[in-house]
Amino acid sequence: MVNSFFFIGLPYIAVFSLVAGSIYRFKSERFSYSALSSQFLESKKLLWGSVLWHAGIMIIFVGHLIPFLLPGLWQSLTSQPAFVVAVEVLGVAAAFTALVGLVVLFVRRILSRHIQSVTTPVDLVVLALLIVQILIGIQTAAGHRWGSMWSVQTTTPYLWSVLTLQPDLIHVDSLPPTVKLHIAVAWIIIMLVPFSRLVHAFSLPIQYLWRAPQQVIWTNARRIRHIAPVIRKAEESRRLFLKGALGLGTAGGLLTVGVMDKLVRFFSGPNMTPEEQAALLQKRLERLEMTAEERDLELERMRNDYIFVANLKELSPKDGKYFIDYQMRPALAYRDTTGLPLLISAKCTHLGCTVASSVDASGRILCPCHISYFDLKTGMPQPGSPATKPLPLLGWALMDTQGNILVSQAPDGRREGEVPADKLEASMVYIAKRYEETV
């Protein structure tokens, strides 16, 4: 019953009052069909109050109008989360702007004795209602979020049902009380429009945007002649300033929304599924293990006099096996044609890249970074290669399974011990710390 009154009865009363009252007022007191200007009575507060209020309410008005008139377009726009955030932030900012302006206007009407003479009680009531209405609006935006999205399914069809004379309560029934209150107060304000200064909204406020601003002054002929150019310039100046402020304000608003959107998402951290989290954690663990492995190699090289490289029989003359030398540099192990190990540094003497392991037909290995070829036997770079210094050969030691050194060779080729032909296949290749110091 209450619902029926506020959302079916009241709307029609309001619309009737709006239409009939406006026509009556237009016919009977034509010149009052405006807000009775009070600019000459008090202008400073008016400027701030009026500009803020009008700027704010126009944005809000457009924001309420588009979902009503073009629900399809609006729905496709609001499917973009960034757009919803932008619109809502803009809307709330505009609401606060309008609220500040309205409060200034309200205070001005109450405090200035001059202005009270052109103020009707209805004006004050409407002002108060507007303030309340904006507060409810802000509460709606904050408490029942993303009205720009849900309004298309609720208030838009309701308004259309009222407008097409088939009022349907089903769309508003389930709305929260705040929203219902917002709608009801809106109808009351519409009802009061013809009896208050709000009626000036019908004198095509849009033209304010294009026409040169007018200033309401007490005047006489002499004075007009004197101040006309000054006024023209002041008008021009004000229009340019407003255009500038509008442009910069829009840009600043959009920029703020965009940057805030990115900042909030950046600092609120990642949005990951448990699988993604597990995969990430595993990857990080693997990296840590690799680092640990490296540290392990390093420690091993600090502590041991011999480091195992490979079993001799696993080495091939064509394809080298990477290992890490005492300086933690990559090195390659081959087996030369005499069946003995051949150990060579794999750190390119040009700029330190890792040399590739396969030996080409002319017995060379290649550093892929800047195409330096090195002779495997001597380590000498091919003439014309970027590298000019040879890859150093490394010393080695062969041990049997019991850990006895069978034979060892220094980097310069000096050999200690005899090569035991019978034990060769089962022997293991080591690098020795004592040879590193001579490199």
Binding site: A251, D261, K262, L263, R265, F266, F267, S268, G269, P270, N271, M272, E276, L280, K283, R284, R287, L288, M290, T291, E294, Y322, I324, Q327, M328, R329, P330, L351, G352, C353, T354, A356, S357, P368, C369, H370, I371, P386
Partner: protein, 368 residues
């Protein structure tokens, strides 16, 4: 005699540091910007500043997630790009804006040179500018290492190795000195955790502080001395710095920001390179092909690859000294001559940057 000297020193300082101009009126209110056919050159300094601010903002944001350890650096960068909301955009913006900043810096250097903006009494402006150039290259070099991927670490190795190369030209005991310098920079025998920590400290603390100080001096000098006339025969036309030039500057910043953020949003910086370069650095694995420094080091990198090392080293050191001494060397040159030198330098930079690889292939027979 003594007091004359004193007066001369005083006059020298007074000319270079016109602190009597230190007022809003002189530095902002009445400042004029000459209008002539080279006026576009006046905007590039502002653009460099703008990109520096972008770097500052995005850099601070990256700092929240980046972890400077060899085991975590690559993973944390990947985390920023793949998982943090808007992280890819921020990181990409940092990469694109760094390139844009250095590009604008090159243009700024060449135009101010051609316009003889270093002319007495603006020597301090010029020298602080050269220092800022070096600092910016320092930013580029240190920042390149931080993601700890293959190209980052290997290119850093190559860069640092060239310091050591200088050793072969040093006599006797000094021969080890460059290696010592290199190890001082990288903190240990090979590029590793110590290097990463050092570069990180340089990139996020020391270089920014250095920039603030030098940039402060640079901008203060520009405002104290006002704009240089820029052409040999001034047109006599000027516009006010505030608000006109400044508003135009801001308009340009807006347009440039739109362009850069479009790039950052739509074109990942890494898509311009082969993907193996962005795998985590593996000290024991193979080095992928195509290890190169950033494009803005090509003008140094390709000669280094093609010419004997000592030629490039000598040319580079001579270049730095020359750059610092510009205000005195070219004291009497006309702007026409300077423009031609600047054009030649620009031609060299563009050729080496765009066609360096082709030139390298031509001489060496294989792609660089």
């Amino acid at each position: 005699m003594g007091s004359e000297r004193m007066n001369a020193v005083g006059a020298f300082l007074r000319d270079r540091l016109p602190l009597s101009h230190f007022s809003y009126e002189e530095m902002v209110g009445k400042k004029l910007v000459p209008v002539h056919r080279m006026s576009w050159g006046y905007y590039f300094g502002g653009l460099v500043l703008f990109f520096f601010l972008v770097q500052l903002g995005t850099g601070v944001m990256l700092l929240f997630y980046y972890q400077p350890t060899v085991s975590d650096a690559h993973a944390s960068v990947e985390y920023i790009t793949k998982h943090v909301g808007g992280g890819a955009l921020i990181r990409n913006l940092h990469a694109w804006a760094s390139s844009c900043m250095i590009f604008c810096l090159f243009v700024h250097l060449l135009t101010t040179f051609a316009m003889k903006a270093f002319e007495k009494p603006r020597e301090i402006t010029w020298i602080s500018g050269v220092i800022l150039l070096m600092v910016t290259f320092g930013f580029g070099f240190t920042g390149y290492l931080l993601p700890w991927h293959q190209i980052a670490v290997n290119a850093t190795k190559v860069g640092l190795q060239s310091i050591e190369e200088a050793g072969q030209y040093m006599p006797g005991a000094l021969a080890d000195f460059p290696r010592y310098v290199k190890e001082l920079i990288q903190g240990e025998a090979a590029v590793g955790q110590a290097t990463l920590s050092r570069f990180y400290a340089l990139h996020v603390v020391i270089l920014p502080l250095l920039t603030f100080a030098t940039l402060g001096l640079h901008v203060l000098m520009v405002q104290l001395h006002g704009m240089s006339q820029g052409v040999d025969h001034p047109t006599g036309k000027t516009e006010r710095f505030f608000p006109f030039f400044l508003l135009k500057d801001f308009s340009l910043w807006g347009l440039v920001f739109l362009a850069v953020i479009t790039l950052a949003l739509c074109l990942p910086f890494e898509s311009l390179f082969a993907y193996p370069l962005f795998e985590p650095f593996d000290p024991l694995g193979s080095t992928p092909e195509g290890i190169k420094p950033e494009w803005y080091f090509f003008f140094l990198y390709y000669p280094l690859e093609l010419l004997p090392f000592w030629v490039v080293m000598l040319a580079m050191n001579a270049g730095i000294v020359l750059l610092l001494a510009v205000p005195w060397i070219f004291r009497r040159s006309s702007r026409r001559t300077l423009s031609m030198i600047a054009a030649a330098a620009a031609l060299y930079l563009v050729t080496m940057t765009l066609f360096g690889d082709a030139i390298y292939t031509f001489f060496k027979g294989v792609p660089g």
